[in-house]
């Protein structure tokens, strides 16, 4: 099974599960801790958490001045809500054994993580670290999603939406793809670090919300300037750094696999950035700063599912392809006229799909050699496509139900006066940049 499993975490974890009850945990057959691997996983956890303020900066710089705090609060709110939910029930759902016919996982011992208090995983890492590392993914995913409907939702409705979304969309998807027994996991779908689970699901769900909620007042007639591109650039820088934890941490090791994941992540990001500014130069004669960071993000998103299975040339091609497709998708969005405010779908959805599909053509020869005889590129391509479709379809449909529900009950879209006044003032009673006014 290791042969098929692009990411062993789930399998390893499952083994840990069966062998461990809280009482058995002090016994001699417990795997030992490897301090090096543990160190890297601790760091990866910190790095993925760094992506949350990074994303807050990236998004916060792109919205109008009056909405900067409201937009950053989407990321910080996700830290609070998903941070709590993950330890309460998220980990139990995502990484417990199959329940409800495999729709989700469930292990009551994982509630409040009490059952893993002494558990060391077969990867020689305390399970707490793995649970925390995974928890950061559960935080960043709805924070990414929020970019699609920036500048027009109520904070209260947003928090309820992402809480439900985490439970009903993220946890099951995570279970399907990464946990032993998850049906996509068993099929051999390759999603190293979250192309489907994180980016495609966030992008698609964001798109659905954006379409349901409608455009911001005045869009696209009134131009909406980024309030702080400088902050957006810095945020992108932090995202790149944090992504090393995101991808290389997903190896749940500190060795060759980790190094490979880090190397391809770096290469894809640089290639994506370069490609984007070349495209811009050809299209408009000018390279923009938003362009270079969009290219970085596109490259990083595309390499995410592929970080364990491609080599440097493949990574660079994925980065370039992501830049091309995302650039095209955003042009198309502008044509179609819907308002995905910060291009959550245009970058994360499209980039994730590009990565998940195209990776099939750049598989590392040694990986291919390790597959059993029945393996064929065509079949892998189908499996990948299935992963994408399941993710798009499931996330899309459930999100639609949720967004309608939340909007009709407690309210999601802000009122027109609130929107004109800006979220910071009307929802939070604050101003982002007091420095603008003499005081």
């Amino acid at each position: 099974m290791g042969v098929r499993a692009p990411r062993l975490a789930g399998a390893a974890l499952f083994a840990a599960l069966v062998s461990l009850s809280p009482l058995a945990s002090a016994q001699g057959d417990m795997p030992t801790t490897d301090t090096g691997t543990t160190a890297w996983m601790l760091v990866s956890t910190a790095l993925v958490l760094l992506m949350v303020p990074g994303l807050a900066m990236f998004y916060g710089g792109l919205v109008r001045t009056k909405n900067v705090l409201g937009t950053m609060m989407h990321s910080f709110g996700a830290m609070a809500v998903m941070g709590v939910l993950w330890v309460v029930c998220g980990y139990a759902m995502a990484f417990g054994p199959n329940a409800l016919g495999g729709w989700t996982g469930w292990n009551p011992d994982f509630v409040m993580l009490l059952g893993i208090d002494d558990s060391i995983m077969p990867t020689h890492v305390p399970e707490y670290v793995f649970a925390m590392f995974q928890g950061k993914f559960a935080i960043i995913t709805p924070a990414i999603l929020a970019g699609a409907f920036a500048e027009r939702v109520r904070f209260r409705g947003y928090l309820v939406l992402i809480a439900l979304w985490g439970i009903l969309v993220y946890n099951p998807l995570c279970h399907w793809v990464w946990a032993e027994g998850g049906f996509l996991f068993d099929k051999g779908a390759i999603d190293f670090a979250g192309g489907t689970v994180v980016h495609i699901s966030a992008g698609t769900s964001g798109l659905v919300c954006a379409l349901y909620l409608g455009a911001r007042r005045g869009y696209p007639k009134i131009a909406m300037h980024p309030s702080n591109l400088v902050m957006t650039l810095i945020g992108a820088g932090l995202l790149w750094v944090g992504w090393f934890g995101f991808n290389a941490g997903s190896a749940v090791s500190s060795g060759l696999d980790t190094a490979r994941a880090l190397a391809v992540t770096q290469a894809a990001a640089a290639a994506g950035a370069l490609a984007w500014i070349v495209i811009e130069a050809l299209h408009h004669g000018k390279a923009t700063s938003l362009g270079i960071v969009s290219g970085i993000l596109a490259g990083l998103v595309a390499i995410t599912p592929a970080a364990g299975v491609v080599q440097i040339p493949g990574a660079m091609i994925l980065g370039v392809a992501a830049a091309i497709f995302c650039y095209g998708a955003i042009l198309l969005k502008n044509r179609l006229g819907y308002d995905d405010s910060l291009d959550a779908f245009g970058i994360h959805g499209v980039g994730g799909i590009v990565g998940a599909i195209l990776l099939t053509f750049f598989l590392r020869p040694s990986w291919v050699a390790g597959q059993d005889a029945s393996w064929s590129l065509g079949h892998q391509l189908l499996v990948q496509a299935e992963g994408v479709l399941v993710s798009v379809g499931y996330a899309g449909v459930v999100t639609l139900v949720l967004v309608v529900l939340v909007d009709r009950t407690i309210g999601l879209r802000v009122s027109e006066p609130e929107e004109m006044a800006g979220l910071d003032h009307s929802l939070h009673g604050e101003h982002g940049y007091g420095l603008l006014n003499p005081n």
Binding site: K66, G218, M420, A421, G422, S426, G429, E430, H431, N437
Partner: protein
Amino acid sequence: MKMVTAIIEPAKLDKVREALIRAEITRLTVSRVSGHGRQASDPQLYRGMVVVPDLNPKVRLDIACNDEFVEPCIDAICEAAREEDNSLGDGKIFVTHLEEVIRIRTHERGGKAI
């Protein structure tokens, strides 16, 4: 020619601009200012405390217009900038006399340069 200077709530900027456009007044200059009027509203929150700032953020509009446009301009602003609940802080309009206007590009002067 007159210079109409309005100090309004930042939240009303979009609405006022739209009202002015309906009154066929499109050219204007906008700036951020802070103000203190009779208003004691616009409270902000700071760690559990309601804070009434001494100087509130406001937006200033400067609109140079020919004399016949002054009243429509004032009406448009008043209409759009007023809170429904008749609260303080809606702002104020000042009118001054403009002796000359010059369009830099063409050196045109006077009413047709507005």
